[in-house]
Every structure is written in structure tokens, then in C-alpha cells.
């Protein structure tokens, strides 16, 4: 596993959660802000640095992704909800802001549906999880792996520094294949949750939906699906940004900060 580069102010801790070694990055002080990453975290957490001025930012690696250990027994999103109940207890986090991106947005929505009393405010950034009307959008597995990095962003230069010089770098390829395997355990059978819409009305906390207008993975049109079920949620979209809207647009990072402040 190649180490993930992360900004110097983040400290890195290992927590053994129900038998799974989990790495947690944290920085800053203030009210806790938990960020749940997407189906890969190789593009780092630089975007989260501004948040550390006002919040205690906590970025756990999901089991089977990044530096966290594999947990083959975790085979659905709810297993990850249970994992985070354990981890948040271990971290002594009672109430916190929850920001979830992509797969992490799906996970954050599930966590908040079940344990809403612990979530002060919720931000869903390009969340996966609802069945869109168009394909291949929303199905990560239909994308040729070599095209994924360029499909994630509107401006390729944003993620270029995080990619290996050699596109056939075996370690990078192996790491991504491992995360693809984790993702397959979770959502090969169905890359969406047919039950989630039934319970989204439970998201009664202030909720922000944030989207890149050029998102090629989870298209911005999906925002409407979410708003059908959580009509009070605010939606902010950003021109010139793809799926990795937080990496591409400082204004998006700022919008999260303003919403949570």
C-alpha cells in the first residue's frame, strides 16, 4: 500500500475498530467536522486544510481504502455505518458536523438517517447512492480504470500531481484494484440503494447538497433526486468543476465552511 500524502498539520492515528486497523487523520480545533471520503483518497486531503482554522477536522480512511486495513466481512453500506458508530465512540465524538463525498456521501446519508441525533449539520458532496435515470453515469464499474482520473475532474491539472508519472505504475494500479475490490463488495450487485429514498425524510438536520456542474460520475441532475426527498436541503453547484468539486473549487470548500459556521 502506497502511503497517502497528507498536509503536515494532520496527525495520523491508528484505531483498532472491531478488529480492523483504521487510520484517522485529524487537524485543527473547534467543533468536530467528520469528512467521509469517496471510493478513493489518493488525491489527498489538501482541500480540507482551510476547515482546520475553525473546526477539528477528522478524516478516517474507510476499511479497504487508503491506509486502512481490509475488512472483507464488511459487505454493505450498513456495515460501514456500524463501523463508524464504533469509531466515533472510540474518538469520543458525540455530536459533529458530517461531510460526505461521493461514496462517503451515500454513507453519510445512511449514518444520518439512522443516527440523526448525532449529526449537527450534514453536507453531501456529489453523493452516490440514488438510482439515476442515465447510464453509465453513477456506475463506477462501467468506467475504464485508465479513464477514471480524467473523468473525476473538469481540470486535469488539479489531480495530476497525485498520479504516478508512469500510467502503468504497478503499485498505483494494485492499490486502485484493491479499492475496486472493496467497492465491488459493497455495490457490484447494485450501484445504488433502492431503500434509501424511503428513509431520507429522516434527514431533518440542516443539509447542504454540493455539486460540480460538470460531474461526469454522479451527474448534477441527481441533485433533484435528493431534493425530492429532502426538500429543505440547500443546493449549491459550481461551474467548471467535476466530481472532485472540493479539490477543484476553493469556493466549494468555503461554501461548506460558511454552512457549518
Amino acid at each position: 500500500m502506497t502511503a497517502i500524502p497528507f498536509p503536515a498539520q494532520f496527525k495520523r492515528e491508528t484505531h483498532l475498530v472491531n478488529g480492523v486497523n483504521t487510520i484517522v487523520l485529524s487537524a485543527g480545533s473547534g467543533p468536530p467536522l467528520v469528512f467521509l471520503h469517496g471510493a478513493g483518497i489518493w488525491h489527498g486531503v489538501n482541500f480540507a486544510v482551510p476547515w482546520t482554522q475553525k473546526f477539528r477536522v477528522i478524516v478516517p480512511f474507510h476499511p479497504g481504502f487508503g491506509e486502512a486495513e481490509d475488512a472483507p466481512a464488511m459487505t454493505d453500506i450498513h456495515d460501514y455505518v456500524m463501523h463508524y458508530l464504533d469509531l466515533f465512540d472510540a474518538l469520543g465524538l458525540d455530536k459533529f458536523h458530517l461531510v460526505g463525498f461521493s461514496l462517503g456521501g451515500w454513507l453519510a446519508a445512511n449514518f444520518a438517517v439512522e443516527h440523526g441525533h448525532r449529526v449537527e449539520r450534514l453536507v453531501l458532496v456529489g453523493p452516490a447512492g440514488l438510482r439515476g435515470k442515465e447510464r453509465p453515469k453513477g456506475d463506477f464499474f462501467l468506467l475504464p480504470p485508465e479513464q477514471i482520473p480524467s473523468l473525476l475532474v473538469s481540470n486535469f491539472n488539479v489531480i495530476k500531481p497525485f498520479l504516478p508519472a508512469n500510467p502503468k505504475d504497478l503499485d498505483f494500479m494494485g492499490d486502485r484494484y484493491r479499492e475496486g475490490g472493496t467497492l465491488a463488495r459493497l455495490l457490484w450487485d447494485r450501484p445504488y440503494d433502492t431503500k434509501l429514498p424511503r428513509y431520507l425524510h429522516r434527514l431533518t438536520m440542516p443539509t447542504l447538497l454540493l455539486w460540480g456542474e460538470e460531474d461526469k460520475l454522479v451527474p448534477v441532475q441527481n441533485a433533484q433526486l435528493w431534493r425530492e426527498h429532502i426538500p429543505k436541503a440547500r443546493l449549491e453547484t459550481f461551474k467548471g468543476a467535476g466530481h472532485l468539486v472540493l479539490d477543484e473549487k476553493p469556493e466549494a470548500v468555503d461554501a461548506v465552511q460558511r454552512f457549518l459556521s
Binding site: T75, F141, P144, P145, K168, L170, D171, M173, G174, D175, Y177, R178, G180, G181, T182, L183, A184, R185, W188, D189
Partner: protein, 389 residues
């Protein structure tokens, strides 16, 4: 070589009437558009291929072999049991090997039933293999590649339980629940037909074959690797208390016989080229859906793929794989050598390779039946019946 040599004829039944522009497609598997399948051509090919399987029986082969693939021009046997059922009444002596349906792509009770039906229909001439299936099958079927091996393992358990225990029994697994596992009919052979594991040499499948005392056949691995695997299967099986017999380790050999070595090469190589360059053409992603391989195995294969780029090279194929092309004498010698080295007497001949035309397949099978098989068995040739029919 221990024991009497056994010869199988394996057919892949490719759809060979490809469009002119087929090389524009990165794969003949998974997403190669099925608008290119012409059912009239398909019908003619089925007729021809089944006649070739029947011919193999007539010229003295011990078994015919069919297998399963999906979404591909590589093979028209999406359901090999259908082909087996169609040829059983036409095949007098040879065994029918379905090598086979990936058991995790089918309901296990249904597969136990279908195999039992074939065994009963053929009066106990069925042999089966349990492949995990290529990565490509997982893009075509609604089965999760990330737990394919666990589901595969459970499916085999259920099938063996159905065959070895009087029903009804129950099975409460991670993937399947059977309240009344009681399939009718049951196999003709007791307790069940001979079983093999077919694989590309992953540690898990080798260990499984050893544990169950099944035969093992490594396909598309190098000669050196096949040798190691045979030794490994024998060793591990012994640890589990099974003694693997030579006939349980079929050796897959691309074989073509002609009057001279030069003629054999001239007649066979274009079709071997088609087989490797076109029929097997697919993408790394289709070969390795997420979770199907371990990360270490993925990296190993990716490194190898990088070294193999640059297209078809017959010398490379000839050196890496078991390829016997030449006169009958040369083939007898070659197969005998490999039989000794690999400690097997079971040869599974790919004698209708790629887009080989019917006349070459007929010639190949006839010469194998007349000049190779009898010599290797130390017997006189079976009467040549081909010309008469």
C-alpha cells in the same frame, strides 16, 4: 508414462464469421456487439462443430470436451450442457466432458440436476469440471466477482452433498438456503461423475482440487508453471490423503498433424494466430473484474501482460505453451515426453483451434486417430472409417 494414454478432443466452438472491422474492437468478449452474430452462420457452425465432435469419437478419441463462456465470439457454448445433450445420442463410445459450467453462475441444485441428467442419458459417460470462470464471465452474469470464490466453494459443496447424501437434506449457507435438497434424477455413476478443477493455477483452486481429491487441469499457463502445478496438486492431495492418478491431470495441448512438419505448421499457424490474437483478445479490466484476483496476482499478471505486448509470435507461443505440430511420429514423441515430465497419461487435444476450416479439423482428427492415438496406446490403429462416411 504410466498406464494407457487417454485422448480427449476439446472444442471451443468459436463464432468465426467476424466482420471485417473486428480488429477495431478492443475485445471479442463482454462488449463486442452481438449484432455481429448471424444466426444462419451460427446454425451452420453448430452443425459442423457437432459433426467434428462426433468424428472424434469415431476415429478413436476417448472423450470429447466442451466448456462455457458468455458474451463472446470465442465460444458459442453459453450453455455447454445443451451441446452435450445434443451430441450424446450421436457419440457411441467416448466420454462426454463438460469442463464446465462455473457452479457459482448457476443455481447449484439445478447444475446437479443437469449433470445427473447428462450422466443418465449417456449411461455414465459424463465427466465434469468446476471452473471459477474467467473474469469476463463476471461482467456478463449478475454475480459479484468480489465473493466469487466463496460462492464457488459453497456451490461445489451443495452439488457434492446432493450427490453423496440421500435426500432430502438441508443446506444453510452464506449464499444459498436449501430446505429440501433432493434433486432428481441422480447421477448414473456412483457416487458421482469424475470431477476436475480447471484453473489458471491460483493457490485456492489447486488446494481445493487437492482437498477434494479431484483432477486438476491448468489452462493457459506456461509449461514450467504447469509442471509445478502438477507436482503441487499431487503433494497437497497426498497431504489430504488422496493419491492423484496420472489420468486426473489432463494436459492441454494444441495439436496438429500433417505429412511433414513444414506442412503442419503452414496449415495450423494461421489459426493459432487467430486464436491468440483475435479469439482471446480482451481488456485487462475484463480479465480482472474488481475483487476477482488478489492484488498480488493482479500485479503479477499486469507485469506479464506488459512483457507480452507486441502481438502474436508463434515461436513465443510454441515455447511457452504445450504446442505439438508436426508429423505423427513427432507428435507421438513430443506427447510421450510431456507425459513423462508431467506424470500424466491424459492428453486433452485442442485439435480444432481458432478459425480452422472443417477440412483441416477432419484431416487432423483422422491422422490423430490413425497414426498417433494407436501408437501411443501401443495398439494397432482403429479401422479408418472416415472416408466411408
Amino acid at each position: 508414462m504410466r498406464g494407457t494414454a487417454r485422448f480427449d478432443f476439446m472444442h471451443f466452438m468459436p463464432y468465426t464469421q467476424l466482420p471485417q472491422n473486428h480488429k477495431d474492437y478492443h475485445s471479442l468478449w463482454v462488449d463486442f456487439p452481438n449484432k455481429y452474430y448471424d444466426a444462419k452462420e451460427g446454425h451452420a457452425l453448430y452443425q459442423r462443430y457437432m459433426a467434428e465432435l462426433v468424428l472424434a469419437d469415431k476415429v478413436g478419441f476417448d472423450a470429447v470436451v466442451v466448456n462455457e463462456h458468455h458474451n463472446t465470439a470465442y465460444s458459442m457454448m453459453a450453455a455447454p450442457n445443451l451441446i452435450a445433450a445434443a451430441i450424446i445420442p450421436q457419440i457411441q463410445n467416448a466420454k462426454i466432458c463438460v469442463w464446465g459450467t462455473p457452479p457459482n453462475l448457476e443455481y447449484p441444485n439445478r447444475l446437479a440436476e443437469e449433470y445427473a441428467m447428462l450422466d443418465v442419458l449417456s449411461q455414465g459417460r459424463l465427466e465434469i469440471a468446476f471452473p471459477l470462470g474467467t473474469g469476463m464471465e463476471y461482467w456478463a452474469n449478475p454475480v459479484n466477482p468480489s465473493n466469487a470464490r466463496q460462492r464457488y466453494r459453497e456451490s461445489i459443496d451443495i452439488i457434492l452433498q446432493a450427490w453423496t447424501q440421500d435426500g432430502p437434506t438441508t443446506y444453510y449457507g452464506d449464499f444459498y438456503t436449501y430446505r429440501y435438497l433432493n434433486p432428481w434424477p441422480r447421477p448414473y455413476q456412483k457416487p458421482h461423475p469424475p470431477c476436475y478443477i480447471v484453473g489458471t493455477g491460483s493457490a485456492e483452486t489447486v488446494e481445493l482440487a487437492a482437498k477434494l481429491g479431484f483432477g486438476y487441469s491448468a489452462v493457459f499457463v506456461t509449461k514450467q508453471r504447469a509442471l509445478e502445478l502438477n507436482k503441487q496438486v499431487r503433494r497437497s492431495a497426498a497431504e489430504h490423503g488422496h493419491q492423484i492418478k496420472p489420468e486426473q491431470l489432463p494436459l492441454q495441448v494444441i495439436t496438429y498433424v500433417a505429412e511433414t512438419k513444414e506442412k503442419a505448421e503452414e496449415e495450423a499457424i494461421p489459426h493459432i494466430r487467430f486464436f491468440f490474437e483475435d479469439a482471446l483478445r480482451t481488456t485487462p479490466t475484463f480479465l480482472a473484474p474488481p475483487g476477482y484476483l488478489s492484488v498480488a496476482e493482479l500485479k503479477k499478471r499486469a507485469a506479464l501482460a506488459d512483457k507480452l505486448h507486441g502481438g502474436f509470435d508463434f515461436n513465443n507461443v510454441n515455447e511457452s505453451f504445450f504446442v505439438a505440430i508436426g508429423t505423427a511420429e513427432q507428435i507421438v514423441e513430443q506427447l510421450s515426453d510431456w507425459g513423462e515430465q508431467m506424470d500424466t497419461n491424459h492428453f486433452n487435444l485442442l485439435a480444432a483451434i481458432g478459425n480452422m476450416p472443417h477440412w483441416k479439423v477432419v484431416k487432423n482428427l483422422s491422422l490423430l486417430g490413425q497414426d498417433v492415438i494407436p501408437r501411443m496406446r501401443g495398439r494397432t490403429p482403429v479401422e479408418r472409417r472416415v472416408a466411408a462416411e
